[in-house]
């Protein structure tokens, strides 16, 4: 079963705009991770936020975590065409295995 669920399923924005996607999860976690997948490629790790952190930044990415609501958000600022990809949240569904949601497909229009 999938631990995380992303919302929305798909997002289309203009280059330069911000993109926000949300993730909800079911059980207690000690970290939550976000991954990106370009079409036909493997997943690439973007950022890991621990359960005792509320916000984390990495370049144009900002991730928030609200453990009381079991939710996280990923914000991509000043989007570029190269940001077009699917984005997945993932959390350890046990001691070691990472469970993924269905992902948000982001399309950045030039």
């Amino acid at each position: 079963s999938q631990q995380g669920e992303e919302d929305p399923q798909a997002l289309s924005i203009q280059e330069g705009e911000n993109a926000t996607m949300n993730c909800s999860y079911k059980t207690s976690i000690n970290n939550l991770q976000w991954y990106r997948q370009n079409s036909g490629r493997g997943l690439v790790h973007l950022i890991l936020i621990r359960s005792n952190e509320r916000e984390k930044h990495s370049g144009r990415l900002r991730v928030t975590l609200d453990t009381s609501k079991k939710s996280s958000s990923l914000l991509i600022t000043a989007s570029r065409a190269a940001d077009t990809a699917s984005y997945f949240c993932a959390s350890p569904g046990g001691d070691y295995k990472l469970s993924f949601g269905a992902g948000t497909t982001v399309t950045v229009r030039a």
Binding site: Q33, G42, L43, L98
Partner: protein, 115 residues
């Protein structure tokens, strides 16, 4: 190698045939995972190795699927009597210690098509 390597990148086979998919993880990574990804879906967990042993194979869909990691490095996912429903991208990932503490590094995947 620098990253996780998976071979073959594409495999087309006929229903009923046997298939092997290989994963070469990042050197020194003791944790190795296999996932399956269908079109438009997120990766679905299949099996996790810590060293040579399968610590959790609860995601394997049935007994046609089997995976080994005999020397704690390279892993092979084996699918017997393939069915059309096995068509998917099979992803391998490795990690220093497991997802509970750190990120997973993924390969590019092996796309399996069963005709």
């Amino acid at each position: 190698g620098a990253g996780v390597s998976q071979t073959p990148s594409n495999k087309v086979t006929e229903k009923g045939k046997y298939v092997e998919l290989r994963c070469d993880p990042i050197s020194g990574h003791t944790a190795l995972y296999w996932y399956r990804q269908s079109l438009g879906q997120g990766p679905e967990f299949l099996i996790y190795f810590q060293g040579t042993g399968a610590a959790d194979d609860s995601g394997l869909p049935n007994d046609r699927f089997f995976a080994v990691r005999p020397e704690g490095s390279v892993s092979t996912l084996k699918i017997q009597r393939t069915e059309r429903g096995d068509s998917a991208v099979y992803l391998c990932a490795s990690s220093l210690s497991g997802a509970n503490t750190g990120e997973l590094f993924f390969g590019e995947g092996s796309r399996l098509t069963v005709l």
